[in-house]
Symmetry: C2
Subunit: 133 residues, 2 copies
Amino acid sequence: MDSDDRSPFGYDAFRRTCPSHTVLEMLASKWVYLTVCALRRGRLRNGELARKLEGITPKMLTQTLRVLERDGLVRREVFAVIPPRVEYELTELGQNLAGLLSQIRSWAEEHTPEIKDARARALANHGEMGAVP
Amino acid sequence: MDSDDRSPFGYDAFRRTCPSHTVLEMLASKWVYLTVCALRRGRLRNGELARKLEGITPKMLTQTLRVLERDGLVRREVFAVIPPRVEYELTELGQNLAGLLSQIRSWAEEHTPEIKDARARALANHGEMGAVP
DNA sequence: GTCATCACTATCCATAAGGTGACTATATAT
DNA sequence: ATATATAGTCACCTTATGGATAGTGATGAC
């Protein structure tokens, strides 16, 4: 019954004390999704990322990149020039993940119409499932 | 150059005003991940989910399920019995997504050792890249 | 001199996430 | 009579996160 509930790796993301749970938590961020997807084609500078990730604040961009760097998904390269130049690129591990995250992104884009419809229906039905006294 | 940046669906999750951006935002939640994965094998009752999603509070569980229901990923069935019985199951759209999210979960579990190592290394190096006055 | 660029950093505030305890209703078990 | 179980809701509170805004230092363009 629990056959496919446990992964064969000894880690179980359902358990909140399992390290894999924190990995899942790290991945559960819209900016992580988008940043990894953005870097998929190749290295980018901070400013290029900022323009690509529409609406991201410098703080969130830095924060996201630091997390990705800490977790070994992104490599940061600093050039000692003026004005400063910093480039980011995916590590092999990051490339590996990027494939999956791109699929999620594609899924989101592909199924947006259905979800929009579902949301509209939910809005229209608000209260209709309730009690009719 | 922008060839694979835009999906062929007209939606672009990189644009913050695009509806698909809000879909990605909805997916970027650890409890959404886990709830969808948990329902993958079949319908579950509220209590069963609460036990499976270790550490989730009743409030968060309800909130997550309402979002998933609103977006058409989960179907909620209420049985008019005492004590109350409510069952949740994935819709076809939800099943479709569950495959992808399970892959993410598997990825997280599979690569947890590498990420743990990367985190340990980052911790050990804290400050070593900084300035040495 | 003023402005912009670059890659940040710091600060503040609003929102969201999450925790706790109380409460609903009814049937069964003790 | 009391307790348990079910599937929640509601109110209150604390903490964490997200986002907005402004500032840093050095340089080059105007």
